[in-house]
Symmetry: C2
Subunit: 385 residues, 2 copies
């Protein structure tokens, strides 16, 4: 089955949609748990299915380094290697090259860097990023883009944006070559793979507009906004998202990369975003930071030592159905890895439930009301500040 996206209904700028992918259907707006190394940390795949995840994200940088894209291709692609049969999106590796790799040298050709694991050298070009994702066989591949640090000058942002457009053109060209016929040395493990372009330009709306126009001119199955949620004021991020969405074709999916908080999900759906990914629910869970309908909880806090109530009385996840705050605090304080597993299952359930409620609200055209209620609710507060 080829990739397609259909907007089923709208409520203001918010959209209810549906992706068709070679590995099944995804309801939008959707949140993608981050499966960095071929697993969403501290979960088993069935936890994700139980929490309602319809698509996960894999990190090309990590998988390239370990166990290697060629090994994964020999296994038949990432889905078969990890035993996850639902859709997968892979990033291009660019973000980790800029945030994690050592001794990186960026030229127009691409990014040369050393592995943060063992110092071995890699060259990631737009063509290689496309080839690697072709071997991984994700349902949605991303173009290689340059990730700009925040803050950046207009000049630096412009130069970086221009380079990213050139890279996007090369990524698209390479994908079309791979689709046209066998390319020596590149195994295409998922012929129905889609490819998304990425709009860059920092917080400068003129650059974002130019980037959006050029990226749409190249033509992709979907469009992402990159280089946001990297330290800029939150209102600035919302403004850039709102303006940029208006430059993108209404019939294509829109993906805000690396965001965000539950607030960000609601606010950006309100501006027309269809897809999100973020390590926040999973990373926070492993640190004992939990999202609940009554506010955020730091489970290490002594006030929970004798608290027999569930983490979140409104949550139906395994953790909330079976365990008390007192027990979860004990597991965390005792250093038990089960703490990370139970907390992750809860936080992902909270995020994915929020997405479900968002979709329901759009379907019933009550999204404005939902948004207002959400921001009035206790869920935004910290109970342990």
């Amino acid at each position: 089955m080829a990739f397609s996206f259909t907007v089923r209904s709208t409520d203001g700028a918010a959209r209810l949609g549906e992706f068709q992918t070679p590995h099944g259907v995804v309801q939008a707006p959707t949140f993608m748990p981050v499966g960095t190394q071929g697993v969403v940390k501290a979960t088993r795949h069935r936890d994700l299915e139980e929490a309602g995840a319809e698509i996960i994200l894999g990190n090309t940088y990590h998988l390239l380094l370990r166990p290697g894209d060629e090994l994964i291709a020999r296994r038949g692609g990432l889905h078969r290697f990890i035993g996850w049969n639902r859709p997968i999106l892979t990033d291009s590796g660019g973000f980790q090259v800029f945030s994690l790799a050592q001794r990186r040298v960026i030229t127009d050709e691409g990014a040369e860097f050393q592995s943060h694991l063992d110092g071995s050298r890699y060259l990631l070009t737009p063509e290689r990023a496309t080839d690697i994702q072709s071997r991984l066989g994700s349902d949605i591949a991303m173009v290689l883009d340059e990730c700009l640090a925040f803050p950046a000058t207009h000049e630096a942002a412009a130069a970086s944006m221009t380079r990213s457009i050139q890279w996007a053109q090369r990524c698209r060209r390479r994908l079309l070559e791979l689709q046209a016929g066998p390319v020596a040395g590149v195994t295409v493990t998922n012929p129905g793979q889609a490819q998304f372009g990425i709009v860059q330009g920092g917080v400068f709306q003129d650059l974002r507009d130019e980037s959006a126009g050029a990226t749409v001119d190249i033509g992709f199955e979907g469009y992402a906004m990159g280089g946001l949620s990297v330290g800029e004021p939150i209102d600035q991020m919302y403004a850039v998202v709102g303006d940029t969405v208006g430059r993108l074709p209404p019939d294509a999916p829109r993906y805000l990369m690396g965001a965000g908080t539950p607030d960000d999900l609601v606010e950006c759906v309100a501006r027309g975003v269809d897809m999100f990914d973020c390590v926040l629910p999973t990373r926070n869970a492993r640190n004992g930071q939990l999202f609940t309908s009554e506010g955020r909880i730091n489970i290490r806090n002594a006030r929970y030592a004798e608290d027999d109530s569930p983490l979140d009385p409104r949550c139906g996840c395994y953790t909330c159905r079976h365990h008390s705050r007192a027990y979860l605090r004990h597991l965390y304080m005792a250093g038990e890895m089960t703490a990370g597993a139970l907390n992750t299952l809860h936080n992902l359930s909270y995020y994915l439930d929020t997405m479900r409620r968002i979709r329901d609200a759009i379907a019933f055209r009550t999204f404005d009301r939902f948004r207002l209620d959400f921001f009035r609710s206790a869920s935004r507060l910290s109970l342990d500040s």
Copy 2:
């Protein structure tokens, strides 16, 4: 429901039995996964149920130190605190005092020691060990015994055995006091709790015989063999078990503490043992050491990097149904905690399946044949030596 034990049938010295406990029925011979700190490491309770665990073990020493027996009593006992509704056996804390605690001083009164966590001081007497387990509310409590190091002289083993018998008398007396009526400061969270005595005496059969006789004279709901599987030659352990079982009443359950390998389970069932516990399946799993019907596997070994077969083709656990050796190796090498979880689920499934096969063999009076097949099978070999 009070505690009882019924032998349903026998095959040679091997016994098929059934425990009734306040938290339900357990089929014997049984293996108890070790839930040190109120959780079997790297599992969720539903994993244990799925693997077929009918009873788990909790460590009094660890729970006393953190989160504390009084906190657990205020939650209604260990079952309610951890959300596990099936039977639990607790040890007395003695073994960890002897193996883990700091600056311990042992007198006839009891064991004074410092916590390995923060150096705080504790006094564990037979009465306190009984009180603590009364607060925890396990279905089976163990008497406090002195754990002898191996090797020990006959003189040292005799003195230690004698002290353990005195402690066992005090434990039993205290339990009867607690059962007779309220004792200030001690909450009895499980009135149907049973108490097992422990036969000591090192590897000296005359001391074991004396200890067994004295322990049976005191009178307990069941009898354990302690101080074995501590470094003595394996044939010596089997010999002590075989001889000691003959000194125990045929209608009471027999528990070999801290054992063992799959071989040990089969060999000691053959000698009339009904219960086992051991950290081997769970600890080995977290270290990548896996038990399979084809032999033991060290999943770190490079030979598994591109092995698409399941860990054990004869195993029906979640790990074996969904994942390849190649993926499990990747997760382990990448340091993902999911590796520990998937490996633990498999190793426990292997152990508990072995116990099921043992029970079937006794039921069909084919245990001798099973034992022979088991020792001829590949399951005892290491594939990575």
